[in-house]
Amino acid sequence: MSEEMFPEPEWLSEEVKTGTTIIAVTFDGGVVLGSDSRVSAGESVVNRVMNKLSPLHDKIYCALSGSAADAQTIAEIVNYQLDVHSIEVEDDPLVCSAATLVKNISYKYKEELSAHLIVAGWDRKKGGQVYATLNGLLSRQPFAIGGSGSFYIHGFVDAEYRKNMTKRESQEFVVNALTLAMGRDGSSGGVAYVVTIDKDGAEEKCILGNELPRFFDQ
């Protein structure tokens, strides 16, 4: 009787997902990663300012999407493994190694986990690189998009991406793509986080809602 009078809010029993938009782009000399900041559980937004770009190493970041718990766990485990690895080789790890570590976990626990991470960073050997690790696949790409909001911007990024953009242009490209996706996807929104990684290190920036670019609004 008392349960009927005060029904349990549905978000307590729904899985927390980062229905999201993430994007990573290489430019001449580094990479730019971007993400939105909304975490939803069913129909409620449980966190509207979460930073989905988590560092795996000084110059290697990964962007989280899918189930929030799974993605965070993978990122933490790989962070630890990468630290050990970099001590062993006595040098900064390669982006490829970080991506491979993520891929190993995604592939081994394919059935249990549902998270898609995009790994991007800069290393001395190959410069800026972006790796997509969907479900255990490892693929190096000039740019990668992921998350539920990415469906709406496939056309936009296909049309607008050009090789060898400058740092400024890539940042604009990422912010535009995120804004368009947040405008159409119900599970993406909030603020935009942008991380730029080049040989000098990583620079994090947060762009608030009212500072995002505006497009034609019917």
Binding site: I153, G155, F156, A159, E160, Y161, F216
Partner: protein, 251 residues
Amino acid sequence: MRLTITRFAVSFTVIIWRHVLKKFIHNLYVEFLIMEKQHSYSQVKGVSTGTTILAVKFNGGVIIGSDSRASMGESYVSSKTINKLIQVHDRIFCCIAGSLADAQAVTKMAKFQLSFHSIQMESPPLVKAAASIMRELCYSNKEELQAGFITAGWDRKKGPQIYVVSLGGMLLSQPFTIGGSGSTYIYGYVDAKFKPDMSLEEAKQFSINALALAMGRDNVSGGVVHLVVITEPGVKHIVVPGDKLPKFHDE
């Protein structure tokens, strides 16, 4: 002499009767088919236009466009060159997304009602009238139908217009609109690239690019691009074959 006349009369009568009976039976059969169609479930996976359709208003007219693939289920392409742009009146076109059978039935009915309406009004029909007819049909047959429409055209009262009738029967007027399964991939692109009051060339390029991008990502859209440009002087149908479509960075 009498025998010949009688024979002639008999054979004449027989021919007439056979003709009449044939017509009668044919009509019965057609009615039976119509009855069948109304009772069949449109939820059953028949030929469905997994598709991409769009309509854009520009300075002086409207462009309505679509891809040309019809698929059965997710894996069989039943037609590579189907035209999904249906003319319901001289300067009013309609394009369909969803079950092809439902769409054809609705547009046939709408075409008939619209021509009747234009005879009664003694003037070409308004685009809004065409869209309202579609909306009536969609709303009253909400449970059975599974199709959404874009109606676009030109009339003397308000110039170029685009109306969207969605699945449940909502009617909305918009400066541009996209629909179909392939449209999800180009929301970002059209949001970024649309400008009000474009010229004809810009609008054409915009539509061709958007459709090419959607066909590049959606596996149930493809084939050629059909465009219809509707302006006051008339209607022009443009077909852009697959090899003339714009290529983007990874192709």
